[in-house]
Symmetry: C3
Subunit: 420 residues, 3 copies
């Protein structure tokens, strides 16, 4: 996963354009991604697909002809979606188009201007302070023309048409945690799941933030009723603890599943209520959809100083944290896949487990006790009203223990699936 | 408000009689109060309107003819509702009719005997201890005769026939916090609201405690179904923090509104569950009515030593605390008036606020962020199920910020009112 | 109660056999217990009534002919349900059938093997360590033959056919807290209640653990719908605080009643959620029955070192703790018997209590205030939706105070019973 992030790092992505296409092409080496192109001008709910933006080069030269700001050194130097320009101007006028971070004088900020036409450069505060009075040449070789909004989609069919959605944004240039980490996690999650036999169908979206989810929802409205669970993946490679932001519903199965995983992780974690600010859960959880979509990240956006700066680089994300994040996503999928409701076929008094070899035959003392308890809990609560996750939460036993007990009882004929 | 308290202080009020009439006449200088007279003997539910009590003079003279207790010095000296008497008696007999406070030897207690005929005097404990053996002359020139129970009522019609009720008791003689402060707050609240264009109709009651609310409810039973929200006003001028006692329902809109105001006041406060002991909420919240009526006071009755003593005087109430109390009552009214449910007219994905001038155009950085969040919260929860107060509470933003955001969105055509 | 425990202590009980019959015969001296005999082989849900086990003698002799383990000294020495055997064997083979407690070298453990045929001896760890190499003679004069499972039942009819169930297990040999204390409490509870006029009918079960409750439920399935409340009695004589384990329903009336009693006991206590492990609540709360049956004990099973060892002896249980436990059981019964729902016959405003002698006439200042509050709470919440226990809990007043207030109001004509 870390290697994939490295491979994608230098590409200059935006909400449209060739950077997105290059990125998706690299992902296609891992998963059979379908590339969708939506023409500029397409009406998507209250919005319109914007002109496509592409960039060849950009710099600012001083009076001596030296490049004092150079897009080739970092694509963050350019205000993303800058209109083309070639002009000389004094420092005073140039400065109106420069952005720096006085509190982090060595970092380049990341700025965009998608929906109002503008141009600008981002630079370190030290660079800004070193600029001397004089005339500067500004050169931006960009194009902003009718074209397409491009996104990637991978649909992995399962037994049921009911879907689990994983979505990440692909519109950020050289930023690693936000959101190459999300892209990488979703790619490897998809790759892993494609090798399994699955109950649910899975949909993986690689879309530009905001306009991408609005576009997808607008063009695929009829599919949304099949989305039973979903997660927005972002910020999954930093050192921070895992943070789960609940869906708007607040107590959906996806909320309970993620919280269960975190509670039993043995790690520090944080649960946050839904708020209508953040990543694309804003759109999936808008009141007209209200889908069961949460967001599982590490440190939330905006809560680490490196966020949206050049310091969110290859040093900032760590392979072990990516691995830990993927493990948690897989644990959530394991719960969703196995979280069924059963009926005890022998509901009056306990069945005699001993004669069926389901009692006292478990190996390992500690283990044995836990398995016995899991068996008793499943039998007691398998009344059609409790899912296995409900039983896990009520018994305070890990889902996998409850799942295994249920499987053994099911094989022993003591459980049957409810039809629901 | 403090001046009104001063003007009313010396009048000897009771549950009936001329003191009440004088008091209401003074209030009529501020608001167009209607005076109601209910004849003695009128059946009001399980009760009967009592005889009217009036008092001209009362004293106790010692053997030397000196007035050792004198109603003219403080109307608290007389047991309220004392029957007329003129009699000589030894100290031992007199003492059976004397009430003092050994733990506060300089204060005169306030005592009543409305429903069993009796006479008596209240005096400081120092006065009591100074009484020498000998014969005393007791003189009470009171009358207890068929007459009327008198109360004041001001009905302020609004757009809707649904009502908000504010009630205070007017039966206490020279006591300032309990309850001239309540009378004063309700008077000035009524005065202020009468200048506004209002959604709800408002009813302001100035009634004697217990028998007054029972009488009003009995004679106006058909109106009670219109009372949607109500507050009993009392004890609003002391130094203590604000105390809210919830309605019997416990989670009525009035409860949520008052709690919201207190939570965002930046001041210390206390929320108390309903109990069937206290002021007239006892009657409005009796099970046959169960109205959404709470009580917003400062220090609750009985929880300050000055309560029901001569120390609840003009020094005990403070103009700034009265002003603070009125401000909270007005903030509650603001919530009730504006607490509507809206529908997002563009519920699928977020609308593009930028093109409507509803985003990023707010002045002031801190302010701007809060307003943006309020706008997003309103859009997200305007699904017809959440009132603006619900949205305020869920977002933890102050009601006024949510209200303003809703108003801006409504003007921008992004919200419509629900019919409910 | 302590005397009854002493009388029963030396009897060798098991899940079947003469030990149970002797025990029940002694109980019949206190209460008119009906003895039921269920033949071996009877199908009871998923189980089958086992062969009856009886024991005459058992020992292990060393090569010198000395009895190194002797059933006559303690019936705990024998693995309960051991098959008959008479055989010589070396120490190495014998040891496979010996059980001791290294962490408590002076205690004999209690072990059973009901459902897989086996034989064995339990002994102190010191005894085990003293055994020298050599040949040993093992002698167990037991019988395991078709016979009966025996249990005792006492049905005490009340006004209503709706029942309260108290159940205890009778299958343990010389163990005092587990469960002679439960047997003793249930016996004396039954004895006491039989002298009263009761609203509910009461059923007292004295049954072997697990197989006994399964047998009773299987043979009496049609009666279970009458069981409205129930408690499993066990471990009620030790020094520990009272522990209540909730029914599977978690908020049944029995749960609220027991919790109320403990909250107002002035003693330390513990409330535990239901779990499907423990005493016979496992069967009564299996999903096919889901009866409102909890378990009120002192220290829970397995949480004291003496549990299931010879140290759970006559010194371990205390008469004062038994008395305290019985008092709590009686307080629970008092709540169940009196926990009715009333309607205020005068629901609009408060009734005038004074004219009915229901106000201010209570003796004792502190008491008077509490009784007045209880009276007001009952009147306020007697709307047909609140039971007296609900009113107690909401007012935080003890049930008995609320009960007395309701009785006085009922006599005064201010309450009527709801039909429910």
């Amino acid at each position: 996963m870390y290697q994939l992030i490295s491979d994608l790092y230098l590409i200059c992505r935006s909400i449209t354009g060739d950077g997105v296409r290059k990125t998706l092409a690299i992902l296609q080496q891992n998963i059979p991604l379908k590339i969708n192109q939506v023409p500029t001008g397409t009406k998507v709910f209250d919005w319109t697909v914007p002109k496509e933006w592409n960039i060849k080069d950009a710099y600012v030269k001083n009076a001596k002809g030296e490049k004092v700001i150079d897009f080739q050194k970092s694509n963050l130097h350019l205000l993303n979606y800058s209109i083309p320009i070639q002009k000389k101007m004094p420092l005073s006028e140039l400065k109106k188009h420069l952005f720096s971070l006085p509190e982090h004088p060595d970092w380049i900020p990341y700025r965009t201007s998608y929906y109002s036409e503008n141009w600008g450069f981002c630079l370190t505060h030290r660079q800004l302070e070193a600029l001397e009075d004089g005339e500067y040449e500004v050169y931006i070789d960009s194009s902003l023309e009718p074209g397409h909004l491009t996104y990637g989609e991978y649909y992995l069919p399962g037994e049921s048409k009911e879907e689990v959605l994983f979505s990440c944004h692909i519109c950020h240039p050289s930023l690693c945690n936000d959101n190459l980490s999300g892209i990488s996690i979703v790619t490897f999650l998809a790759k892993h799941l494609s090798s399994l036999s699955l109950r649910y169908s899975y949909r993986f979206l690689f879309i530009p933030g905001t306009i991408g989810s609005i576009t997808w929802l607008s063009l695929n409205e009829s599919k949304t009723s099949q989305i039973k669970h979903g997660l927005i993946a972002a910020g999954l490679g930093d050192l921070g603890k895992l943070n789960y932001k609940k869906s708007r519903r607040g107590n959906a199965e996806i909320d309970k599943a993620v919280i269960h995983v975190l509670q039993h992780s043995g790690q520090d974690y944080q649960i946050n209520d839904f708020s209508p600010y953040g990543y694309d859960e804003r759109q999936f959880c808008s009141p007209g959809f209200n889908l069961a979509v949460g967001s599982l990240t590490r440190t939330p956006f905006g809560q680490y100083p490196e966020y949206h700066t050049s310091a969110d680089n290859l040093d900032f994300v760590r392979a072990d944290k990516l691995a830990d994040s993927l493990e948690k996503y897989l644990a959530v999928v394991d719960i969703l896949e196995n979280n069924r409701k059963y009926l005890n076929t022998n509901p009056k008094c306990e069945p005699q487990l001993g004669k069926r070899g389901l009692y006292g035959t478990f190996g390992g003392t500690q283990n044995k006790k836990t398995k016995e308890m899991a068996t008793l809990w499943v039998l007691n609560l398998a009344d059609g009203n409790h899912s296995l996750l409900d039983i896990s939460d009520r018994s305070r036993l890990e889902f996998s223990v409850i799942r295994d007990a249920a499987n053994a009882l099911f094989k022993g004929g003591l459980l049957e699936l409810t039809i629901n």
